[in-house]
Structures are given as C-alpha cells and as structure tokens.
Symmetry: C2
Subunit: 115 residues, 2 copies
Amino acid sequence: MDASALACDTPLVAPAMSDTEAEALAQALKAVADPTRVKLLHRLISAAPDGVCVCDLTAPLGIAQPSVSYHLRILRQAGLVERRQERNFAYFSVRAEALRRLATLLDPTPQEVRT
Amino acid sequence: MDASALACDTPLVAPAMSDTEAEALAQALKAVADPTRVKLLHRLISAAPDGVCVCDLTAPLGIAQPSVSYHLRILRQAGLVERRQERNFAYFSVRAEALRRLATLLDPTPQEVRT
DNA sequence: TCTCCACATCGAAACCCATCTATATGCAGA
DNA sequence: TCTGCATATAGATGGGTTTCGATGTGGAGA
C-alpha cells in the first residue's frame, strides 16, 4: 500500500495517534458538539455551582422534557456534568476540570508539563 | 408555558445563549468530533507548519482517498485548516488560532478580557 | 394506601453522516 | 495533444442521532 510513495515527503515527528485515543477524544467532543447541549452547558456553567434542576432547563430550551433528559444523559456519560438528587428534583452541574481537560486537548499550543 | 413554574428557582445570571451562537459553536465542534478528523488534526498539528500533502495522509489513516478529501473539506469549511496548492499536490496545515479559540470557548474558567 | 409530581426510559420516525466506487478536474510532461 | 498523476466531486448505502409521545419509577403529601 505504501511502497509507491515517491512523490512527496512528510517530516512528521509524532508517531500518529492511536485509534483508541482518537475515538475517545472524538466521543468526548461529540458530547459537546450539539446546539442543545452547548446551550445546556452554557446554562450550567453560568449558573450556581450547586447545579440547576431539570425543571428550569426544559422550558427555556424549547424542547420536550424527555429530550432534555436525553441530552443530560449524554453529557453525564461523557463525564462533563454530574447529577445530584434532592427530593423529587435532579440538579445538574458542570465538571469544570473535565471541560478544561477537553479544552486543553484541543489547544495546539505546546503545553507545560502537568504534575 | 412558563406561568406554572413555582417548584424550584434558578438564580441564572447569564441571559441564555442565542440559537445562532449555539449552532455556530456546535458546528465548529462537530468538525472536530470525529475520530478520523481528530487523527488528521493531530497529524497536522505535529507536522511542519508549512503543511502536509494529502498523499501522505491517505495511507496511514487506512481509509480511501475520497474519504480523506471529504474530512479535509469539513475541517476547512470550519476554518480549522487551510489549503495550499503546489503543482499537483495540496498541502494542508492547521489554523492554530482557530483551534485555540475553540479551546477557549470550551474552557469554563473565567477568562481575562481580550483586546 | 392512593395520588401527584419530577424525572428517566422505551420505541418509533425523521434526519444527518461517514464511507465507498466511479468519475471529473486540472496540472505537467512526452 | 495525449497521457498520467493528485485531488476533488457525485451518487449510493449503511449506520448513528435527535426528537417525540407514551410509559415507567420513585419520593412526598393527603
């Protein structure tokens, strides 16, 4: 498959990303790559750190309650938000470090080494 | 639709994100939220700043050439990579500021004001 | 216990996306 | 001009995703 490449050269330093790593990163990004979930995250980010209850998320988004539940599950499975149950209400809040880590992975600037 | 909300309260400071804004951000993120495109970006980021030619991207990704072309188009339409034609070859390179801007938007940490 | 409320899950319908093969385009050399 | 190569586009197909209405679940009050 690669024996014929004599046309152009690639200096390429890094040894390519593994399939596993690429899929993990893509999956995390997919969790955010939806207008409804972007809005959800925005609301959760700009709200109180102890979370927002679902009943306050349904109406302003203009979609049905099961849809909100679905999107919150996606975000939760991606580790981007967390759920706290209190009486009948479920409060959702962002996991700031998870979002920050995702942001760091996207940033092409060479980062300083982390401890 | 909203007159009955008397169950829980939301302090909510920010005035919700506009549909347009949310969709723009989601679309940019969608461009990255794919394993193949993550790998492509990784290669372009870790390669020389003057770009990598398509012929060097096709083989290592294990997908057909039109698929590579398709993904590069997605990334280009999102403004994340740019294309430079030289003779028969097309060289692609990352737009670092675009990626960095996306990373910044994801970061929940309150940023310093930009000029 | 019975009922109500908040939220989650189910199943179906509509839609979008990644991939392929086949083909077009455009440059360069013979 | 004709041929060959690198890349892009077209059209088709299979699979995944978002949305909904209907229903399940579990806590709290009557």
